[in-house]
Symmetry: C2
Subunit: 199 residues, 2 copies
DNA sequence: GGAGTAAGTTAGTGAGTACTAACAAACATA
DNA sequence: TATGTTTGTTAGTACTCACTAACTTACTCC
């Protein structure tokens, strides 16, 4: 791992954990096993370290391409796949998302950046629902509303598991909760007893 | 407003916004319109200010008492009322919740404190569902799972609206989203077409 | 009016923090 | 061997921050 990368890796972790002010350049250098001087030789100042770290550790995905060939028009399997993909993306970007929550107003464009995935996902879900409707596989509904609720549900789970420590609220596993959430939406979107009695 | 209260009010707002390190005693004093000296005459140190502020501005509720006489065993109305109450509580405690997310590990017992409401609400929901089942008004289900998903949905909505700034993801109003989320769970929990066709 | 209390003012201390200057050591490459 | 590049070390600067000491001012209650 190059010196740059060592520094950025430690920086993103530490800033996510302690905040921008709380993570000192001395500590970052120490934990990255370089001298503080080296750190400032690689980056002009602390702020630029954060910006470079976000740049390096924010993984961007194009939902459309990501899902294009994976949707099989089976509500349960598709929603499950979407939810799981959502969590994979969010976890990859966990540190940047945490930083956006606590430092968003201090970093130009960070909030916009972090909102891109949810927005894309919302659009994808709406289009997916519309197509499913066309195929007669789900009922008519306010798809934006349903998409948002699906997202909020996933988001709540993600935040709760990632950022709220201490005694947990439930012992249910993440996988079980995701599966459960998908079931809720299946029952909501599926006409009559087609899906009833499964659980 | 007493001097103590002026200080604590500004402190909780500013620490929630800028983090513990980011909010300086000088700024707090300034915004509270007292001298910094006065601030230290009222509180021995900065940490104690935060602790006192949390103490003062964390509103604790007993779910059981809160809901005892309000439940009318109509799934839609009850869930709506529960969701709305949830949001009212969370908003009241918004600052403390934000601080818990970013400073939880630095304040003894804060995470536990903040988790109390969700845990209580989970238990309440489970009991509510069980009673509704007894009355033959909802189907059999994994009620803990359903309760958690209802909570995660509400939590996601709350966090998204409260802490994530920047261009919004949807233009739907909070009320509409809440109503929508309740509909999702009604369709999930209600046997067959009883509730179908409403929306 | 006098005593007690809360607040302001000013000046300062000591510690930490971002960041720099200057020089030396290690290493790779030609 | 010579040279350029990267890193470490040491010492230091300028600044901010939490927190204090000492004195003064304003207000209240008797």
């Amino acid at each position: 791992m190059s010196t740059d990368e060592k520094i950025l890796k430690v920086a993103i972790d530490m800033i996510a954990k302690k905040g921008f002010k709380g993570a000192t350049t001395k500590q970052i250098a120490e934990k990255a096993a370089v001298s503080e001087m080296t750190l400032f030789r690689h980056f002009p100042n602390k702020k630029k370290i954060l910006e470079a770290a976000i740049d390096r550790y924010y993984y961007s995905f194009q939902m459309k391409e990501l899902f294009e060939h994976k949707l099989i028009w089976d509500l349960e399997k598709d929603l499950l796949m979407i939810a799981e993909t959502y969590h994979t993306i969010m976890k990859k970007n966990k540190n940047v998302i945490k930083i956006a929550i606590q430092e968003g107003h201090n970093v130009q464009g960070l909030n916009e950046q972090v909102n891109k995935h949810p927005r894309q996902l919302k659009e994808l879900l709406i289009k997916y629902f519309e197509e499913m409707k066309k195929r007669g596989l789900i009922i008519d509904d306010d798809y934006e509303l349903t998409a948002m609720n699906f997202l909020y549900m996933s988001y709540g789970l993600f935040i709760s598991r990632s950022f709220v420590q201490g005694q947990t609220i439930t012992t249910l596993s993440e996988d079980d909760v995701i599966k459960g959430s998908v079931q809720v939406f299946i029952n909501h979107l599926t006409p009559n007893e087609v899906s009833r009695g499964i659980h």
